[in-house]
Symmetry: C2
Subunit: 218 residues, 2 copies
DNA sequence: TAGATTGTTAATCGATTAACAATC
DNA sequence: TAGATTGTTAATCGATTAACAATC
């Protein structure tokens, strides 16, 4: 049986995306969120390109695969595009995350709205230092790491953030994995080993700096 | 004239690298630096692949383009490979950087050794808050932003780090650009506009989190 | 209408992957 | 020798780029 009727939606949104396009869409979403905060109502593919360093034609092609979101001569509606990409990435809902490490880095992460902007809510903060347990960290109270399994289950937490010195990072990651976390977000530079069904993402600002410096020097 | 003599070095290291390979090499360097800290003497392409999420064959191909660095059946010497990649990226030297923002985030960055590991030294910290100017931040004293032009010139600074809230980010970036900085490293989530000869790198941890979550949910 | 920007095509380039000989 | 891992090839896939018609 051959169906020759034209499909109005080029790529069905039900298929799993490739790694490249998923990463780029997340990046566009970050720029759009910031543009909205800055009071922008519309944005062009060239502007998104400036902020993401992704080719403007690539951006238009990425988006047009899911529908006709832009207006020729005008650009894209910031609000509408945020909604579309959230649907594509299935990240429209709210997600609870737990943070381990109530030092300066942990406090900085807790008070930043990087995560909140995308529907991630820091539900709990834990620290191995008994002197810190019980003290306030913003609107939250610092908990004992022993409570992690209960917290993760009760709050249905998928993501754990590691904000401790490199020496303690592996131990904290192990605790988080035992507690049931599926994605570990590592702010310590350390290399972390986890079981194959858990994903680690390590932020490495120095990597981008090395990269930028290479092109400045070369 | 046709030269048929075999060239022992496939790709001369004097040519400018493409963006893809330069970014990957910087990433390998970060992993190698951490592996060295963890006391590892050798590492295989598969291990680097685990930590970077870059295909192991791709890693071997990237490296073999510059020489024969590995030992078959063994892997790569961590120390030797760090030296080789530093030479390829021309980042073997020491670079001074200036940080603006002495809040919790700025303090966390200043006390972290992410940058120090790669030869970046935070030479000065500035903050617009008069109450903070003059106070100690680690081994440094917080300076007034008005001093930035002099500091940048005296210390031959190329990189400026923005560690202030989103609302103040553009102003701080403008100050840094006026002071002569060529690369702006933006830790506030805000979108920053700079002249075309200046590069901005914005860290966006939430982007990676959205990406990881997509593959977890899909 | 004129200017701007999207949506889309086609052609090129680089990345990915599997496979395997070389060799430690 | 046996096992492991590199270096390298070839084939496929996705990204990039230029160009331009469509249309706001």
């Amino acid at each position: 049986m051959v169906v020759t009727v034209d499909d109005p939606v080029p790529t069905p949104a039900t298929e799993r995306l490739g790694g490249g396009i998923a990463a780029r869409l997340a990046h566009y979403l970050q720029v759009l969120t910031q543009a909205k905060k800055a009071g922008r109502s519309h944005i062009t593919s060239h502007e998104i390109s400036e902020y993401t360093h992704v080719n403007a034609t690539q951006i238009r092609r990425d988006l047009s695969g899911f529908g006709t979101f832009g207006k020729r001569g005008v650009g894209y509606s910031v609000d509408a595009l945020i909604g579309e990409i959230r649907q594509i990435l299935r990240t429209a809902g709210q997600h609870n995350i737990v943070l381990v490490g109530a030092g300066r880095l942990g406090q900085a992460i807790a008070e930043a709205d990087v995560f909140a902007d995308h529907g991630f809510s820091i539900t709990a903060i834990a620290d191995a230092d008994p002197a810190k347990v019980g003290s306030a960290c913003g609107p939250l109270v610092v908990r004992d790491p022993d409570e992690l399994p209960r917290i993760v289950e009760e709050e249905q937490i998928i993501v754990g953030v590691v904000a401790v010195p490199a020496e303690a990072a592996q131990d904290v990651a192990d605790q988080l994995v035992r507690a049931g976390v599926r994605i570990v977000f590592n702010y310590s530079g350390a290399l972390i080993d986890v079981p194959p069904d858990v994903t680690v993402h390590t932020t490495s600002p120095a990597v981008e700096l090395l990269y930028a410096l290479y092109f400045h020097l070369a």
